[in-house]
Structure formats: structure tokens, C-alpha cells
């Protein structure tokens, strides 16, 4: 998997490179719009990350030109949060997703994976941890053979926990991603939902999958 990151801020670029490389992507960095456009046109990338604020040629223009040159690689644009216009314009010009600064690396990785898969047709349809299976298409959740019915929000919460197996997700992160609250409404909201999820998934089971990590966050682990 080869990615192009067009980002002029060296620190952000190297963060993206580091984070994505760790996930097995091969990452090229371009630091201005002209160079980025040139590379994106000549090299077949699996996905392209474009910052909107770029020297020489801005990100939206790069995106527009790429699409007019029939470059179909999925594009994620990086905007400043709150700039609704940029976001909408980006999506209209053919961007597949957007991230607002300051973004979360975990989120970027997860979304780029999804983008790449969407294109290769290899859509992720299942998450499986231990005997817990989550089907993203049919929205079925099975614990062994037991079918579990979840509310929409419970489903999204579980999805975010299973997306990053073995990894601790903090309450704040969950609030941001599952509830999309851009401020802190208190963490017992997450706790209450986790309790509900536990009751449905772990009650009566020998192996408890949803684990509290030292009062900081949660993770789904099969051990």
C-alpha cells in the first residue's frame, strides 16, 4: 500500500508518515502543491492525503486537477476545523473523506484503511475478537452463537472498541468518536454505555472481553 501525503508542515508530515508507516503503509511526502500534483499524476498511489493550505498550489486546486486528469485514487483532505466551506468544497471536488486539524492519528489510520479498502473492494465487513463477531454490513453481533441486539449508539461504541483490538481507548476519545461531542460532557456517559454493553456481551460469559484499563479507558481483549 503506497500513500502520498502532500503536507508542507514538516512536523505534521513526519507524524503522518510515522503513524502510517507503522501500520504497514509506504508513505511518500510532498511539501508543496505543484510537486504533489506532479507525483500524484505520475505515480499510482493507493490513497492521497492533501492538506488544503499548501504553498505554490492550494490543496483544493490540486484535488480538482487530479480529478480532471482522471486520477481516481481516494483522497483525504486535511482542513482547519470549523471551516465548513472548505470541507464542503473539498467533498464536492471529489475528496473521499476529510480530517480536521488537530486530528487524531488513530482516526486518520482507521479512515485511510477504510478508504483503501473501499477502493480495492476489500471492504471490511467483520470484526472478530475471541468469539465476539461483529458484522458491519448486516449489523449483526454474535457472541459465540448468541445473537446480541444493540442500539445504534451501542453498536458504534463496540465498533470503535473492536476497530483497534487490544488497544486502550480513553473515555475522551470515545466521547469524541462515538458521540461526536466536541467538548467534554463528562465521562460517566461512556461508563453507563459500557456497562450496558457489558451486560449484553459479557454477562454470563467466562471470558470478559470488555475490560476497564486502570480507570482511564477501555479495551476489547480476548484473553
Amino acid at each position: 500500500m503506497r500513500l502520498l501525503v502532500i503536507e508542507d508542515e514538516a512536523k505534521i508530515a513526519s507524524l503522518l508518515k510515522k503513524g502510517l508507516q507503522e501500520q504497514g503503509f509506504q508513505v511518500d511526502i510532498s511539501t508543496d502543491g505543484e510537486d504533489g500534483l506532479e507525483r500524484a499524476t505520475t505515480t499510482p498511489y493507493d490513497a492521497i492525503v492533501i492538506d488544503i493550505m499548501l504553498p505554490k498550489r492550494d490543496g483544493l486546486s490540486v484535488l480538482k486537477t487530479l480529478r480532471s486528469r482522471k486520477v481516481t485514487a481516494p483522497v483525504m483532505i486535511i482542513t482547519a476545523r470549523g471551516d465548513v466551506n472548505e470541507r464542503v468544497e473539498g467533498l464536492n471536488l471529489g475528496a473521499d473523506d476529510y480530517m480536521a486539524k488537530p486530528f487524531s492519528m488513530d482516526e486518520v489510520v482507521a479512515r485511510i484503511r477504510a478508504l483503501v479498502r473501499r477502493v480495492t473492494g476489500e471492504t471490511i465487513t467483520l470484526y472478530k475478537i475471541g468469539d465476539l463477531v461483529m458484522n458491519l454490513v448486516t449489523r449483526e453481533v454474535l457472541r459465540g452463537t448468541r445473537r446480541i441486539s444493540l442500539t445504534a449508539r451501542e453498536f458504534r461504541l463496540l465498533e470503535h472498541l473492536m476497530r483497534l483490538p487490544d488497544q486502550v481507548v480513553t473515555r475522551t476519545q470515545l466521547i469524541e468518536r462515538v458521540w461526536e461531542y466536541h467538548f467534554d460532557p463528562g465521562t460517566n456517559l461512556v461508563d453507563v454505555y459500557i456497562q450496558r454493553l457489558r451486560r449484553k456481551i459479557d454477562d454470563g460469559e467466562e471470558v470478559k472481553l470488555i475490560q476497564t484499563v486502570r480507570g482511564v479507558g477501555y479495551c476489547v481483549r480476548a484473553q
Binding site: 507503522e22 445504534a152 480513553t170
Partner: protein
């Protein structure tokens, strides 16, 4: 007098000063006319008297007072205005003008005119001349003169109020015209607020004091605008500049945590740091949003948002959030209330208000929400039980980083918040064309209310409200 507007005071002063001037002028003119006239009367009185006196003295023979022809000759040069009494010798009356009839002239000192009366009634000016053999009194009736004087005063009495009325009217018009630019400045100045500092006062074409004042004021607004913009830019730039380092801190923490090579003791710390970074990001985003609002560039969307459903959905979370304090939530929401805007910001708005209602609530308290529509406007009223906000702090609740001092809020400090919630809420409502206010209400309740204009099709779009139960207890 100080309470009156300037133009009224000016009119009064003009009338006062003008009236005094006219009265003074009139009085002086009348008085000097009167003095002149009296002097003239005395002079003619003397010349008439002396001519008759001389006529009688120079006659050479004793005057025959019974001969009408001789008498007529004596008085031929005398105007009929003057009346005479002649005594020959003094003390023995030989002639009295026919006009006097049987009225007598008073006896006075010789040689100088004096004021007296004819027959004790009609005022007159009298002169008495005397020689060894003769005493003559000549009098002029002052009645016509007094009549004239009286009519002059009457004229003044009529003209003065008329003049004053004319003066008042003229002054009113003049000051209204002169102060019109001031009114224009006032009207324009009222529209210049911190958010609209790019406006200027209208400068009239005249090169007068007011134009000068306006120019000076405009220059002052220039400087104000500059410093406001500097502050605003600083806040926006600072928030913007913080984004990159925050992204890197968060990213690096996430990458490190994911690597699985972090010792347990350190992992905990790093997770805490990650959460704190998240909070910092919330604050920075809040500040950026506020500075955008200050610059009138709040990024409000134009989507149609179903406010009823949005509130219902959030209320479910609020019930959970309020659980710890056993706070009950009561909802009375009108169906199908649609507004135009940004769902993300409207969620934040409602959640900020809910958050506040929990934070400043009491144990086992209540949150009461009501959504209604009044005259094309959605009205959301949220009330919570709790310590009332002290009067002195009411105006400040929407200030940035302001927190109401209350024991409850400190107890609930764990609920979170950074003191920007209500400022952001107010800006969100403003950006949606409405207003957010802290209402005064019955004791023991804190009530906030916002109004947002309904989406134009909101009222005519009947939609079944399917209450989302998927997030309810299941």
C-alpha cells in the same frame, strides 16, 4: 434644566435673552422719547407763555380783556392746545382761556415749568410767569400725550410676546437644523458595535465644527477597530498556531501507545496526557470559534435541522449524565420544529445548555425543557433547579472563562467544562439569527432561553416524529 435636551435649553435661553433685549431696547427708546417730548413741551410752553406775556407787557396801555378782538389779536399766534390764566395785578384773575371753562390752574412757583392738574383732574404741564403788574399761567394738557404713551405701552405688550413666539419658533428651527448632524451621528454611532467596527459616522460636506468632530470621532473608531482586530487576530492566530503542536502531541501519544512498547506505569500517564490534550484541543477550538464569531465569520451551515429530534436524542444522554445527582429530565417538545443551520453546532448548543443545567443543579433536582414555536421562531426554554445566580453575576454568565461562584458547581466540578460553554452557546445562537438569554424567574430555578428563526418550510412540513428509541434503555 439640566435634564432637558440641549435644543430645548437653547430655545429657552434664546427666548430669555431675546425677550430681555427687546424689552430693554423698547424701554430705553420709550423713556428717551418721553424725556425728549417733555423737554420739547416745556420749551414750547415757555415760548408760548413768554410771547403772550410780552404781548400784554408791550401793549403800552391797559389791556381791555372784554374786547374779544383785542384778546383774539393777543392769542393769534398761540396754538389752541395751550390754556392761559392771566392775573393783573397778580392775584386778580382777568382772563381765563375759554377751553378751561371754570376749571382753574394751580398756582405754583414762578419761572419754571411744573406738573400739575387742570381743575384738579387732568394732568398738565404748567408754567407761571410774573412781573410787578401781572401773573400769567400757561398750561398744556398732557392727556393726549398720556394717551399716546399708553398706546405705546400697549403696542409693546402685544409686540413683545409676538416677537418672543417668533424668536422661539425661529430658534427651534435653527437649532433643529444645526443639531441635525448630531442626531445623524447619534443614530450612526448606535449601530457601531464591537462586531461592526468597520462602520463610520457620516461626515457632512460642511467644514464646520460638527464635521470636524465627526472626523475626529471616526479617527478614534479607526484606532479602536485596529486594536480590536489585533486582539481578534491574536486570538485566532494563537488558536491556529496551537493546532499543529497539539496535533503532534496527540499523534505522537497515540502512536507510542499503539506500539505496545510502553511500560504499564508510563502508559497510564500517557493516557492521562492524551485526555488532557483532548481537553486542550476543545478549549483551543472553542477559542477559535469565538474569534471567528467576533470577526462575524461564524461557520454556520444551511442544513435543515430537526430541532425536536436533536433535543430528544441529547436528552437521553443528559438523563445518564444527571444520574449521579439523581436529576430528573422533563421534556415538553413541540413536534417537527425545523431550523436552518449547522447540526453540529446546534447539538453543541443544546448540550452546552444541558451541561450547564446539570452542573448548577442540586441533588435530586430537575431539568425542565420546553420547545415551542411562536410567530415563526423556535423557542427553547431550559430550566433547572439550583442556587439562583446572584444578581451581580447575571450579566457576566456569558463572558468568556466566567464561572458562577457556587458550592454546587465546585462539587460538580468533575462534570467538566472550561468556562467557554455559554459564550459559545450564545455565539451559536447569534450565528443562527437568534438570541440566548438568562431569564429571571421564580426562586430556586435557573432558566435559559434561546430563540432561532424557524426554517421557512418548517411549519408546513408535517413530519411524523418517530421518537428514537434505539438508544433508550434496552
Amino acid at each position: 434644566m439640566k435634564r432637558w435636551p440641549l435644543r430645548t435649553r437653547l430655545v429657552w435661553w434664546t427666548v430669555l435673552v431675546g425677550g430681555l433685549s427687546v424689552a430693554l431696547f423698547g424701554g430705553i427708546v420709550a423713556q428717551s422719547l418721553k424725556t425728549k417730548l417733555r423737554h420739547h413741551l416745556d420749551t414750547t410752553l415757555r415760548s408760548e407763555g413768554e410771547s403772550v406775556f410780552a404781548g400784554v407787557s408791550e401793549l403800552g396801555h391797559a389791556m381791555n380783556w372784554n374786547d374779544p378782538a383785542e384778546v383774539a389779536r393777543l392769542f393769534s399766534a398761540v396754538v389752541s392746545l395751550y390754556s392761559f390764566e392771566i392775573e393783573q395785578p397778580p392775584g386778580s384773575l382777568v382772563y381765563r382761556s375759554r377751553a378751561l371753562g371754570n376749571l382753574t390752574l394751580p398756582v405754583g412757583e414762578d419761572g419754571a415749568a411744573f406738573s400739575g392738574t387742570i381743575g384738579g383732574t387732568d394732568p398738565a404741564r404748567i408754567l407761571q410767569l410774573r412781573s410787578e403788574t401781572m401773573r400769567l399761567r400757561v398750561a398744556v394738557d398732557l392727556s393726549p400725550f398720556n394717551e399716546w404713551e399708553k398706546s405705546m405701552w400697549w403696542t409693546y405688550a402685544i409686540i413683545l410676546p409676538l416677537t418672543l413666539a417668533f424668536l422661539a419658533g425661529g430658534a427651534r428651527w435653527l437649532y433643529a437644523t444645526a443639531l441635525k448632524p448630531v442626531d445623524d451621528i447619534v443614530a450612526a454611532a448606535e449601530h457601531i458595535t464591537a462586531e461592526r467596527l468597520e462602520q463610520r459616522l457620516p461626515v457632512s460636506g460642511n467644514r464646520d465644527e460638527i464635521a470636524h468632530l465627526t472626523t475626529v470621532l471616526n479617527r478614534m473608531i479607526d484606532r479602536l477597530q485596529q486594536s480590536f482586530e489585533q486582539a481578534r487576530r491574536f486570538s485566532a492566530d494563537a488558536s491556529h498556531e496551537l493546532k499543529t503542536p497539539l496535533t503532534i502531541i496527540r499523534g505522537e501519544l497515540e502512536i507510542a501507545l499503539r506500539s505496545g512498547e510502553i511500560p504499564h506505569g508510563v502508559e497510564r500517564t500517557m493516557l492521562d496526557l492524551l485526555d488532557e490534550t483532548g481537553r486542550l484541543i476543545h478549549i483551543v477550538e472553542g477559542l477559535l470559534l469565538l474569534s471567528q464569531a467576533d470577526a462575524g465569520k461564524f461557520p454556520v451551515g444551511t442544513e435543515v435541522v430537526a430541532l425536536t429530534e436533536l433535543i430528544e436524542e441529547l436528552a437521553e444522554d443528559v438523563e445518564i449524565l444527571g444520574d449521579r445527582l439523581e436529576i430528573g429530565v422533563e421534556l415538553r417538545l413541540a413536534h417537527s420544529v425545523m431550523v436552518k443551520g449547522s447540526p453540529m453546532f446546534l447539538r453543541q448548543l443544546v448540550l452546552n445548555l444541558f451541561d450547564n443545567a446539570i452542573k448548577y443543579n442540586r441533588q435530586s433536582g430537575t431539568i425542565r425543557c420546553e420547545l415551542t414555536t411562536v410567530a415563526g421562531v423556535a423557542v427553547f426554554r431550559i430550566a433547572n433547579t439550583g442556587e439562583e445566580i446572584p444578581a451581580a453575576q447575571r450579566d457576566r454568565v456569558f463572558d468568556r472563562f466566567f464561572r458562577v461562584e457556587s458550592s454546587r458547581a465546585r462539587m460538580n466540578a468533575g462534570v467538566g467544562g472550561h468556562g467557554l460553554g455559554l459564550s459559545i452557546a450564545r455565539e451559536i445562537v447569534r450565528a443562527h439569527g437568534g438570541s440566548l438569554t438568562l431569564e429571571s424567574s421564580e426562586p430556586g430555578w435557573i432558566v435559559f432561553q434561546f430563540t432561532i428563526p424557524l426554517c421557512e418550510f418548517g411549519a408546513t412540513a408535517p413530519r411524523e416524529i418517530a421518537r428514537k428509541n434505539d438508544d433508550a434503555l434496552g
